[in-house]
Amino acid sequence: METLELFVRIGIYTLMALVLVFALGVVTLRNLFHCALCLAAVLIGTAMLYVGLRADFLAAVQILIYVGAVMTLVIFVIMLTEHLGEKSIRQNNRQSPAAVISLSGIVVLLAALLLRTPWPVTDKALQAKASVMALGKALMGTYAFPFEVISVILIACLIGAIAIAKKDLPGEDVS
């Protein structure tokens, strides 16, 4: 039991490290297509982490929506816009040193804060596992209103995205 737990723990830490490495790849790689692939890796890793945190449904949603829909969309747009022959184009602007320094400061401070804070962890909550049914009930019950708002937002965004991205018909005002 102990050994199994140890392996799981090592696996999770390894997973975290890998996710972070891929995340760094997302923000540093010059080829945007590689970035997108790294992002897919990060998203899959996160989904695995969800499983580790006993949120199976969310992991499924993550894979479905992110890796299945959003990533497809991103890669599609990259293919539409990126000229793959121009790899030499600088992808970062000049404020990366400043960003690194300030972000490191924030990370250090927040990390210190996190480590100092006594997080209350209840045993019951640790063992609890949210079933799909409970999630469905919560969505349709307690969170019905935000759910509907989200649906409206989704519809609006779909229509908006189509309106923005569609090719202008000849005769319509372009600008």
Binding site: L80, V107, W119, A130, S131, A138
Partner: protein
């Protein structure tokens, strides 16, 4: 819990910082959008992690995560549509080349 809560939070913090770094330094708008996805992911991880440590109903964190994922999807859709429209008009996807409104 197999891993202490603090470690997960630090992980998500790092993930968020990396995403923020990408948002700050990327010239490519698509790159920025990708980095934003990273940050949203970090937030989602936090939500899941906290749902383990509170006395609320266990599905609460997951519900919010679902909402966040939905919002992220819309953000990606609208953002990428804007990128396409911009590219069609200006033939560029680099932020410092889109300076029509700059002084």
């Amino acid at each position: 819990m197999i891993v202490p809560l603090q470690h997960i939070l630090i992980f998500s913090l790092l993930l968020f910082a990396i995403g923020l770094y990408g948002v700050l330094v990327r010239r490519n708008i698509i790159g920025i959008l990708i980095s934003i996805e990273l940050m949203l992911n970090a937030a989602n991880i936090n939500l899941i992690a906290f749902s383990k440590s509170t006395s609320l109903a266990p599905e609460t964190g997951q519900i919010f995560a679902i909402f966040v994922i939905a919002i992220a999807a819309t953000a990606a859709a609208v953002g990428l549509a804007i990128v396409l429209a911009l590219y069609r008009v200006r033939k560029t996807v680099y932020t410092d080349e889109v300076n029509l409104l700059k002084w």
